[in-house]
Symmetry: D3
Subunit: 190 residues, 6 copies
């Protein structure tokens, strides 16, 4: 990110860390990822909010789970496709490409997961995540049973639901403030 | 809640605290609210997840903000009405009734906020939250400008967006696992 | 209702009876229900219209039917939930609470009937009523067969359809004129 | 109608009058219209229901109003077009053709009223009726004001709302029971 | 068409042929159909565009196919009903009436194909065409299999898809420019 | 494309040219583009259909127009984003990246054109194309006027409409037959 590019449409500071702890966290991102994801800079105006966000994000996307990291990123992108979220499709589309080593899979999650050549497990997982996104009021026991039949445990169902729900939140924060993804994502793992 | 009533449709424990810290937190809820909200019991199977949830929830709904606590609860309920979330409409509908002392206001947020007799500030706030819920991809600068014209600062816009987005997450976790609200909410502040 | 509260957004009189017959009818309501439902005051500007409305209403909701009065009120509320009708959700939500003695059932009909713990008969009945509300053009023989399989006769199907259809009408009259429910409903049978 | 053609998908009698009063009413229809509209035969299984229906119908569509009979039929058809109701589009499409002497106007109401060459009065009237049909929860004072600006009185607004709402009911009864329009309508006033 | 009636809302000439070849084509239409369809006059401002349109149209609607001409017209009208296209419903509704000799079938395609008394072949064909119109992203192998089970070959599936897709194009060109159908269609084959 | 990869889900040949003319055309594509777009191979089973398709495509996308080729590709992608068409988003997303030299612009068209930093001309053009895609029945003179105010001539409006409409067709053919884009597109112009 060039210094003077805006991160969001709101006037909430320039995305600099407000504490040594945050500065160290950003440095670690830079080192591991080669960039500080703009979502973190967007939250940087308030250390408490940043910590709450990263704690939940890291638990869901990087913590222990019966779902692989790639599976969680696939959910993230399929949900973001419904919501047409530019930030999340860009950042997490890149993650799917990287984790899978399959650029086409990343594009399919962005464009239309339904036409991807998916295992029954992945189709069940994404069908649930997308139904939960589009019509949460219509999720019933039959939907949970479909996941169980596809081999998911109840704890896995919690994780599928939580990741899908989390991106329904993040998509909306990003859209509400017009969050800009780091340009570096566009070319990654193509 | 009767001991043997289920909290969710998933088999993830009985909602008991898994650590002294959580037990203390639940005791504090019992003391202050007269009950432990079932959402906390639902998350209790994993202390890390529970902490991430409560940290974000408490920051958003109880922390410093240009929005009053009632305003944040109004957003919560208007969003949950779009998503027809039984858990959140029940628990946060009760909160609107309690904080406002106006049972009818709680019902209006549950049923149709549009026909409530709202101040321009509240109408702008809820129109934004509901548009963000229904068509996040269509939020543009004009929508943010409408909030600014209604007197909201950029920080307030962040908070409106964050609360609306948070309940788009919570509605979906609750619907995905069929989370049951504590029966006590139904009769509160009527 | 306080004398000077408005019943609708239209300037069509103050809701007083225009004939001795109507005055007697309102007195009977007052005696039996403790109030004159505002919908009747809304129609009171024209005795012919009031009579047509009450005749149809009373036939459908109180007349002979294979559906219990509670079942007809459940349909009324589930339909009104789709249409987010403040008047009908308030008045008929109270009716479900009163007739069932189960405040939670009333709330479930208002918020999301799908997640209620329903008998197969009631689920079939409400699924039909809500599909008829949301996509009437898609009702086919298979939908009627589903009702027959759930034990309903053809006459019962007529009644389910008629009640659901009637509230699709009433919801729209109420929303079109911003009809205000009597405040007394909010606290009833909680 | 040939004797042995079915009127609805329900087994509720053959549409014959159940009382001398109804027989006389059907005879009058036959004389004035050249047919007994199948909707009346559909309700004929129960004299009380038939009377309630015709009383409301006749008040709304034939009674005193600031709206002409043609205007009320235009609303009927524009609403029925949203709901894709075969019965009502057929019967009331014919009525628009007959009352207007303009077959093309009837087709426009059936197919897409928006592209008709309408007076501002008629456009305002139909825009309100169709919005009330598609999203009744979103009707606000601004919508009523648009009607007043187009020259409608508050009593006219009541009538527009009532006719639009009535056909939202009738469309659903007809769709629920697969009501068949009399074949004669198809060729009328072409 | 009276000389001075407009064909579209765009100022792109008066619909006269721009070349002897087009003049001859229009004369042939006049001779065979009794009129020059306004869609051809609308394209007449540019001979290349007109030729591309007629070449595709003639191949799809008149060329060799496992689908009869009536079946292709039924698809055209069912698709145009979803898109509420006045031009295509009028012109192709007339074609269904003419080819079938059944005015009611034409009306059913215009109003709601679902309630027509269709063969399984025709229902499968129209269900596919309408799903492809409303949610093309959700067409999966199961939808193609349903056509195969109804007796369609893969080449037939291509044709069903192509005709449905073509009218999704034509409906939008017609709506975008407010194309007016020839008045003669309204009375044809009633 | 590897020889043995399937192009569509239909059994309509292997995509080889059926005539010397088509073989020459494919060779020209290979030479100019480095590949034969799979859409051409998909149509190759029938030379007449292929010619009709390419004639219309080439006229619209490459012929004379007040719209630049990039503008036409932007419309193609914004429309395909609404319809979630994997083939068209992939092939025409690459075209936007190539013609603009701006990979981010391609992604924005795929993901959500609304949040791109567009000129008023481009926003008006894409808003029209997307409204025409989502609700063609609601396009009125005001929509055409908005294009004229943005500087477009009536001929330009025809072209915007025609390109948007064409991709509503192509998206549906591609989705109906599960057309596979050439893998080469994914990495182009990143």
């Amino acid at each position: 990110m060039t210094e003077n590019e805006r991160i969001t449409a709101l006037d909430l500071g320039d995305g600099s860390p407000q504490s040594p702890e945050t500065a160290a966290y950003f440095a670690k991102c830079e080192e591991k990822l080669g960039l500080v994801p703009n979502v973190l800079r967007a939250y940087a105006f308030d250390d408490g909010k940043l910590r709450a966000f990263t704690q939940m994000y890291n638990d869901l996307m990087l913590g222990d789970s019966g779902l692989s990291k790639l599976e969680r990123e696939m959910i993230a992108v399929a949900v973001s496709s419904v919501n047409h979220c530019f930030y999340c499709l860009t950042a997490h589309g890149a993650a799917v490409r990287q984790l899978s080593g399959d650029p086409k899979l990343g594009e399919l999650m962005v464009m239309n997961y339904r036409v991807a050549d998916l295992t029954p497990r992945h189709r069940a997982m994404l069908d649930f995540a997308v139904k939960l996104t589009k019509e949460p009021e219509a999720i019933l026991e039959a939907d949970r049973e479909a996941l169980r039949k596809a081999g998911f445990s109840d704890r896995d169902i919690w994780d599928i639901a939580s990741v899908a729900a989390f991106f329904n939140m993040s998509n909306r924060v990003a859209s509400a403030v017009d969050m800009q993804p780091n340009d570096e994502y566009h070319g990654m793992a193509r």
